[in-house]
Assembly symmetry: C2
Homo-oligomer: 242 residues x 2
């Protein structure tokens, strides 16, 4: 039964919040099935249509996935989702491929002021800082610096285990129970530093596309800061606006 009941907020909205909360709290975890629409309707004392409307909203937000004849599931972070929603680099013919990646360094440090503020951490909190190069067809193209709060990812990269998968978001979900749900990206053009130039095999001063991404969980907590510097000689950042 819904206790909130009357007034301004429509039932289906309340149910949407309720379902979202269950997922945030991990009562229902990624990949698992949720109760059927009819079952939820009975539990909540509303009609199936109302539950349906709530679920439809969450499906549009990529929180839930419907499978006809089977049921409704909490969305999963398979590589496809990463590719489709969070990866915007394509080659010059418009084809998306996830590059492979090699970790250069993975260190524990105190958060910089910028890291602390974007990840909403207290000053000097410990963070994990991963640096890696990403290659398309053996050509090094992107340099990434990934910052994570140590508290949430404490085991990551410990003991020299730098053998990270290149779809990190899958790892976050499976290993640390953290599902990335959305991301904010800021793009700028910058000049290749000496280090960029060496690692990407370019001239110093070559223009690079810098992508500063803050990745958020369902409840909008920032959990990853990722700064990518990308050569756009043979690739570009693709965005479609409606």
């Amino acid at each position: 039964m819904l206790t909130i009941g009357n007034g301004a907020v429509p039932l289906y909205m309340q149910i949407k919040e309720l379902l979202t909360a269950k997922i945030s709290r991990k009562e229902w975890s990624p990949g698992s099935i949720i109760p059927s629409e009819l079952q939820l309707a009975q539990e909540l004392g509303v009609s199936q249509g109302t539950v349906r409307k709530a679920i439809t909203g969450l499906v549009e937000n990529n929180v839930l996935t419907r499978k006809q004849g089977r049921g409704t599931f909490v969305s999963n972070h398979d590589p496809d989702r990463t590719l489709f929603h969070f990866f915007h680099i394509t080659d010059n013919r418009g084809h998306k491929v996830i590059p492979d990646s090699r970790v250069l360094r993975c260190r524990r440090k105190q958060a910089s002021r910028m890291e602390a503020s974007t990840l909403q951490l207290a000053a000097k909190t410990n963070v994990i800082r991963i640096e890696r190069v990403r290659k398309f067809l053996a050509t090094p193209t992107m340099l990434e610096t990934i910052t994570l709060p140590e508290s949430r990812f404490s085991s990551l990269g410990k003991g020299g285990n730098y053998d990270l998968p290149n779809t990190l978001y899958e790892l976050y979900e499976k290993q640390y129970g953290i599902t990335i749900h959305s991301a904010d990206e800021k793009l700028r053009a910058v000049s290749a530093t000496k280090q960029d130039a060496t690692l990407l095999n370019l001239e110093v001063g070559t223009p690079l596309l810098e992508i500063e991404r803050v990745a958020l969980t369902l409840d909008k907590t920032p959990v990853e800061l990722r700064i990518s510097r990308c050569s756009t000689k043979n690739h570009y950042y693709q965005n479609t606006c409606f």
Copy 2:
């Protein structure tokens, strides 16, 4: 009455196509009201719920706009829509403002190979090429080259009338009956040429963010190619991914 009737395609989808077609054909033009849900339901011989579902889809695609108590309207190209859906440059604090713009040149030329192919024109078709500088708070920040097929915009900029509004999409709609519905953008980092440097008051070689945008109508016909070169010293390109 719907003649397509039975089979695989759901009714609400057919209705969605039907409404889309009416708008594409300009039977209903931007800003005007469409018949009420009940009225459409009766005309089409379906229930209100089915019409409603079709309309909901189009509202989500920004094709229609609902106003409670008033009716459903074909979406309009007010400056807000441009700002919200098609303009991604913000200042370093994340604030969006549309810059003012000054036209440098507006000329009729034969389409380059690249222009012809992206605008789907026959080789050597005539195009209008507008070049302009855009300023934020008196600081020149973006250089734009806009290419339009002459056939659709024949009167544009004729007689030295370069006094174009800075929200061009509103002009396209009102003056030429062309509504921009979506856009594809490709972003790269490039070096400022001598000309860029002069116009933007920068050093030659400064990295610039190049945005190559193809703007499409509702029926996905490309009607504008716009190449912007943007200084990202005090601004960035903002994108949110879900």
